[in-house]
Symmetry: C2
């Protein structure tokens, strides 16, 4: 049966999944780029972003790669789609990723404000879902078919799906950095009570990787 | 110059330094024992607790050992000394550690309630300090001389010293377990703002070790 997965979600040693002060120049908040030092150099990331000839291989890359394996749809919180808050002033914001985003499957964006679907290059179509997390997951499952749904983030989106008992598996990377403030992944969610356990872990110079399942 | 150090302080993947529900049967709170799976089997722990012939060597043991190296005094929060809350009903509680505790230097216990010093075997004397964290540190420094002071914990004690800018170095171990709730080390303390950085890290099968300095 198709799963709902969180993949390559990175937190700092002090627990933050994004730094404070997200804006158009800081998609991950201040200091957030440091979190992804394990991910950016990988062959997987470099390929997804256009250069299939470069990038590191090894454990970091294996975790990056499995994050794209068998994924048929993504769900993103609105802040992960962009810095716009409140009603959409127009359709000019088209994500952080340029003309050809790295998803290549349907992407469902959680928002309180309706907007027409946005079709971009590379089979990337963004659907804006105002009906809440269950509606988004139903639509994502339908689009994914037998493949899995990946919950991209951010932290609050993941927590909503965790609390609803809807996530089958999480790969969390902990980077050896301190962000000090921002948005935490594990705030107001009792992972033990929800039945999650760490079933696999592996460390590299850049991060420690954990796989959590119920 | 003598330092103030936190050593071998272990948190769960979700950030908790102790589980919920500390009592006489659960010194580290429910599930807290799981945190210390990296520490208990080490030669250092086994030696400190009386059996110098056993225990593992390697990275976990090296981190455990440096935690006792050059320490001239300890500071403990009251909950780390015991489960008694409020005024001391009598002097019967003598710590979790039996007749010969593992410190072998003066130990300063932060409390709101005065109590006479408690001398035990193995050069272990507990002093009960009602004057606050600065008073405790002054007394600990005087006792330690040229050696360092170790802040044992728990989380709230460490945070108080962090916020006061008094800790030079922390060794934090992250265990691959989820505690779900309890007391967090990095709540209400902005480690980045305080100037701490991760300067060293190393992983084993049992934990990832981080050294933080200002």
């Amino acid at each position: 049966m198709a799963k709902v997965r969180v993949e390559s979600f990175t937190i700092s040693l002090d627990g933050y999944g994004a730094g404070p002060g997200q804006d158009v120049d800081n998609p991950l908040g201040k200091g957030g780029e440091e979190l992804h030092r394990w991910f950016i150099p990988t062959h997987t990331f470099q390929s997804v972003h256009g250069d299939a000839q470069t990038g590191t291989t090894g454990v970091d890359d294996e975790f990056a790669a499995r994050g794209f394996d068998n994924i048929g749809a993504w769900i993103l919180g609105r802040n992960m789609f962009g810095p716009v808050r409140g009603p959409w002033p127009d359709d000019s914001w088209k994500g952080w990723w340029g003309d050809n985003p790295p998803y290549h499957v349907p992407i469902f964006v959680l928002t309180h404000y309706a907007r027409a679907p946005l079709a971009m290059e590379g089979d990337n179509t963004f659907y804006f879902i105002t009906g809440g997390i269950h509606d988004a997951l139903n639509q994502a499952r339908a689009a994914a078919g037998e493949r899995d749904v990946r919950i991209g983030g951010g932290p609050e989106t993941i927590r909503q799906y965790l609390r609803a008992g809807l996530i089958d598996e999480l790969h969390i990377a902990v980077s050896p950095v301190l962000l000090g403030s921002g948005e935490r992944l594990f705030d107001d969610v009792d992972m033990r009570d929800l039945g999650y356990k760490c079933v696999e872990h592996a460390a590299t110079e850049n991060a420690t990787h954990y796989v959590l399942r119920r």
